[in-house]
C-alpha cells in the first residue's frame, strides 16, 4: 500500500494543448512558504513544487483548470488566474 503518488504519470495520459509562453496562471515572486505549502498539498495536478534547495517551482502546463489554487491562497500567491485562451488547456475525453 502507501505508494507515493506520481502525478506526472497521471497527467501524461491526459490530452493537453499547452499555450506555450502564455501562462494563464502567474504566481507572486516571493510567496509565503506557509501559504505555498497549502498549494503543494492541494493542487490536484501537483504543479506547485519546490526543488531540492527549497526554491519555489511552478509550471502551468498540466493544469486541470479546477481553480483550487485561486480559491485557497488568492492573491497571496496567485497573482493572476485566468482560464487558458480558447482551444488551449486540458481537453477531457471522458470528463
Amino acid at each position: 500500500m502507501n505508494t507515493r503518488v506520481n502525478v506526472d504519470v497521471k497527467l501524461g495520459v491526459n490530452k493537453f494543448f499547452v499555450d506555450e509562453g502564455n501562462p494563464h496562471i502567474e504566481i507572486a515572486e516571493n510567496p509565503s512558504l506557509q501559504e505555498y505549502a497549502k498549494l503543494e498539498a492541494a493542487c490536484p495536478a501537483g504543479l506547485y513544487r519546490r526543488d531540492e534547495k527549497g526554491a519555489v517551482r511552478f509550471d502551468y502546463a498540466g493544469c486541470l483548470e479546477c481553480g483550487t489554487c485561486r480559491i485557497l491562497c488568492g492573491k497571496t500567491i496567485v497573482k493572476r488566474w485566468e482560464y487558458p485562451n480558447g482551444t488551449f488547456g486540458v481537453e477531457f475525453r471522458y470528463g
Binding site: M1, L11, E65, Y94
Partner: protein
C-alpha cells in the same frame, strides 16, 4: 452591428448553459452559446452521477437516446479506516418511473448530445472561444467581449462554472472561499464491460454507485466515490478545502491511497488509467448563493453554487439542468415583453423558488456545517470497523456480544453519538 445582435448569449456549454439554450432557441429566441473548450463538454467533469428527473422533464425518455453510461441500481456506502471497511449495500432493479432513475455519465459524451439538441433547436454554438469580459452599458449587461471583439445581445446567461470569473467581475458572485467548496480529483479507469459487471455485481446496462467515508479524505470532510461506467469506472476523492494544511497527505496522495486500500484495490486491479481530472465542487449551499439576477444577466448552475451534498447523495447536474430551465423561462418571458431589466428577469428567482432547487437548498441548509465534523470521518468509521472486527474475529472462547460492542460505542462517546445523531436528524 445590430444585425449581428443576438437575443441572448450563453457563456458556457455545460448542462445548465445547454439546457437554457435549447429551451430559448426552441421558443424562437436567437441564441448564441460561447464555449472556451473545443467542444461542449471538453472542459467539464463530474464525479459521475446524474439524477434523471430534471432532464426527463425536458426530454422524456432521454436515456434511450443520450449517451449515458449505466443506470444505477446498486448503492453502496462504506465506512473506511486505513485497512478495513464496513459497507451498507442496497441493490434493486431500475425504477419503473424514468424520472426516478439515475445514471452514471461522462461529460465529454453527455454534453455534446445536449449541445446538439440545442443546436437542432436553432441555437448557434461557437467553441474554442474564451469570453474575457462582459459588455456593460449604463449598468446593463448587453453582450460579451471575446478575443478583443464585442458581441451584443439583449441579455447574457452566465453558465461559466464554479470559478465564475465573469460573475465576480460583475460583483454578483462572491469569490468562492475554501470554506464553501471542496476539490474533487478523479481517475477514469478502463476495465472492460465484463470486469465492471463481475466486480460490481451488475449486468448489461445496470451499474453501481459507491460512496466511502473516512480514510479517503484523510479523516476530514469529504470522501471517496466509485461510479461504474459502461466499460470503465470513475474513481475519486473529494476533500473540503478549508482543511488544507491540516492533513499531512496531499490530495493526489489521498486518491492514490484510496485506490490502494484493500477494499478498493481488487476492484481496479488490471485496469488502465485513461484520464485524470479535477474540479472544484461548490458545497456551501445557500451560504454561498450569489446575486442571481442583474440588469440583463442571469447566473445558473455551478456558477450560482447550485450543488447539494447530503452526505449520502451528491448532486449538481440535476440542479444545473433545472436552473437552466428556470433561466430559460425567465429569458423567454423577458423577450416576449422586450424588457430585459432585473425586475423583469426576476421571474428566474420565482421559478427557482418554486422548484426543488431552492426547496432542497433550504432543506439542507444546515448540512454542510453538520457534515464538517471530524467524528464523521474518524471516530465513527473506526467504531464501525472495530465492531465488525470483534464480531467476526474468533480466537478462543466467546464473550457476550454486548460486551464486545459497548467499548466501541464508548470510544466514540455516547454523548457524541446522541449529539450528532440529533443534529443529523435536525439538519435534514
Amino acid at each position: 452591428m445590430s444585425d449581428d445582435k443576438f437575443d441572448v448569449i450563453v457563456v458556457g456549454a455545460g448542462l445548465a448553459g445547454c439546457t437554457a439554450a435549447f429551451l430559448m432557441a426552441q421558443a424562437g429566441m436567437e441564441t448564441l452559446v460561447i464555449e472556451r473548450g473545443n467542444f461542449a463538454g471538453a472542459k467539464n467533469m463530474t464525479g459521475g452521477r446524474l439524477y434523471a428527473h430534471s432532464l426527463e422533464a425536458i426530454f422524456p425518455g432521454f436515456a434511450d437516446d443520450a449517451p449515458v453510461e449505466r443506470c444505477i441500481v446498486h448503492e453502496k456506502i462504506s465506512f473506511m479506516d486505513e485497512t478495513s471497511s464496513v459497507t451498507l449495500d442496497y441493490a434493486s432493479t431500475a425504477s419503473g418511473s424514468p424520472a426516478e432513475r439515475s445514471y452514471s455519465v461522462l461529460r465529454s459524451r453527455l454534453d455534446p448530445w445536449l449541445a446538439e439538441k440545442a443546436e437542432s433547436a436553432g441555437a448557434v454554438f461557437v467553441t474554442g472561444v474564451r469570453v474575457d469580459d462582459l459588455l456593460v452599458r449604463y449598468g446593463k449587461v448587453c453582450g460579451v467581449i471575446a478575443g478583443g471583439e464585442e458581441m451584443e445581445a439583449d441579455m447574457v446567461i452566465l453558465a461559466d462554472g464554479v470559478n465564475s470569473l465573469l460573475g465576480e467581475k460583475l460583483g454578483m458572485v462572491h469569490t468562492v472561499t475554501p470554506h464553501h467548496c471542496a476539490v474533487g480529483v478523479k481517475e477514469v479507469i478502463e476495465l472492460g464491460r465484463q470486469k465492471v459487471n463481475d466486480r460490481f455485481g451488475c449486468c448489461d446496462k445496470d451499474g453501481a454507485a459507491w460512496l466511502f467515508a473516512g480514510m479517503p479524505s484523510a479523516g476530514y470532510m469529504g470522501g471517496g466515490f466509485i461510479y461504474t461506467n459502461e466499460d470503465s469506472i470513475s474513481l475519486g476523492v473529494v476533500f473540503g478545502l478549508h482543511n488544507t494544511g491540516r492533513s499531512a497527505k496531499s490530495v493526489p496522495q489521498m486518491l492514490e491511497d484510496f485506490k490502494n486500500h484493500p477494499t478498493v484495490r481488487p476492484l481496479v486491479e488490471g485496469g488502465k488509467l485513461v484520464e485524470y481530472s479535477a474540479h472544484v465542487v461548490p458545497e456551501g449551499g445557500m451560504e454561498m448563493a450569489p446575486k442571481l439576477v442583474g440588469e440583463g444577466v442571469l447566473i445558473v448552475g455551478d456558477a450560482a453554487g447550485f450543488c447539494l451534498n447530503a452526505g449520502y447523495t451528491v448532486r449538481g447536474m440535476d440542479l444545473a439542468v433545472a436552473s437552466g430551465k428556470a433561466a430559460a423561462v425567465a429569458a423567454i418571458n423577458a423577450w416576449q415583453r422586450a424588457d430585459f431589466g432585473a425586475s423583469s428577469l426576476s421571474v428566474y428567482e420565482r421559478e427557482l423558488d418554486g422548484s426543488f432547487i431552492m426547496k432542497d437548498l433550504r432543506l439542507y441548509r444546515k448540512l454542510p456545517s453538520f457534515l464538517d465534523n471530524r467524528r464523521m470521518y474518524n471516530d465513527y468509521p473506526a467504531m464501525a470497523t472495530g465492531m465488525m472486527k470483534d464480531l467476526f474475529t474468533v480466537n478462543g472462547p466467546s464473550r457476550p456480544l454486548r460486551k464486545k460492542m459497548i467499548p466501541h460505542l464508548k470510544k466514540a462517546g455516547f454523548m457524541n453519538l446522541i449529539k450528532d445523531g440529533w443534529k443529523g436528524v435536525r439538519s435534514i
